[in-house]
Symmetry: C2
Subunit: 196 residues, 2 copies
DNA sequence: TAGGTAACAGGTGTCAAACTTTGTAACCTG
DNA sequence: CAGGTTACAAAGTTTGACACCTGTTACCTA
């Protein structure tokens, strides 16, 4: 018996997210998801090629939910580039702290994908790098920053702040002084970046 | 029958290191170590309070083997502080790359201790931070670097270069461009550090 | 008495059998 | 014919009996 409302990819994603949250990334099965939807597990495979693909789609959606917040900060020309760089790096940390606090299960799922060099993780990094490049390009254009390759400089800044956004350091984001540490790293990087 | 040469802590450490290398950190048992020494496993417990303590002692010894190389670079007043900072950071990376290549089993054992916040790991970090502080203090003294707290600045530099020495990033140390990346991060940090 | 032994309780790891899960295939149905 | 079904093989996971390891104790001996 087909369900009254036909199954769509979005409903599958929502149900998977829920199951992932309740069972954890290791115990969430496709059968569980199907059961939650009142459907056979084969139906789920009509919408997603594999369990891996389903997981990636859920994680991508979850990562994308805060993209606009960060993109907004990166693109806000009203704030001078140096201060914008600082705020943006803080925002990245804050967003990730919130994610780990609110959704430890989904965060763990993201960690697994990142470790497996999944395109979701590299895509997320590319997205953040793009935003950072935009901030630095703005700073280069208005003379605040000294650089002749905004993308390369963005990569360097991103590497130097790995402790504050790389999943491998997630445990350290709970440390009480972490924001101050980021502030200090920002200050040193800005000294290096700015004309003076 | 007691052995001809009485067992001492050092012989136990050497045997443990050997077993660790041959069996890997997960399969190396205290019984294996005792067997290699021709002794009962209880004898090993006369010298080390627990398997954990034995492991930590082995790791500490292994970490200490390259300490002098790095300490030598850090203390070499013949090299100007800026260049010394750069060489030292490269040396830390090189030493760790060599360790992971030559002794993956012992490196894995170190990774486990680091994750468990063992005093061996924190001690190792404190040691490196001390060396870095010395370089920066030298730079502050001769006017190369602008800082009023060498230890704090050392912490910031260490944090900003986490990707090149923190165990969590060990997999990335195999990347071909990693040295160039470190070079670029160094350059930016030195710009920020130096008077100009 | 420092440094060894043998024996043991309790915890952890291993292995094969039984069960789940994944992914596919062949088949319905509005 | 898109979107569902049941049935199934292959791969992965759980289970439970059993072996092995850790850490301790009581004891031996140069």
């Amino acid at each position: 018996m087909p369900p009254r409302t036909p199954l769509d990819a979005d409903a599958v994603l929502a149900a998977t997210e829920d199951i992932l949250r309740r069972h954890g990334p290791d115990k969430a099965t496709v059968v569980d998801v199907a059961r939650a939807l009142g459907v056979s597990h084969a139906a789920v495979y009509k919408h997603f090629a594999s369990k891996q693909a389903l997981r990636e789609a859920v994680t991508r959606r979850w990562l994308d939910r805060n993209r606009d917040t960060l993109a907004g900060i990166a693109a806000d020309r009203a704030v001078p580039p140096a201060q914008r760089l600082r705020s943006w790096l803080h925002a990245v940390l804050t967003v990730k702290q919130a994610k780990i606090r609110e959704d430890p299960e989904l965060f763990a799922a993201y960690g697994i994908l990142a470790a497996a060099h999944s395109s979701v993780a590299t895509g997320h990094v590319a997205d953040l790098l793009g935003q950072l490049t935009a901030i630095i390009a703005d700073g280069a254009a208005d003379g605040t920053f000294r650089t002749d390759d905004a993308a390369a400089t963005a990569r360097v800044v991103f590497t130097a702040t790995a402790r504050f956004h790389h999943v491998a350091h997630a445990a350290e984001w709970q440390n009480p002084g972490i924001e101050d540490e980021l502030d200090e790293v920002c200050s040193l990087l800005l000294e290096g970046l700015q004309n003076n």
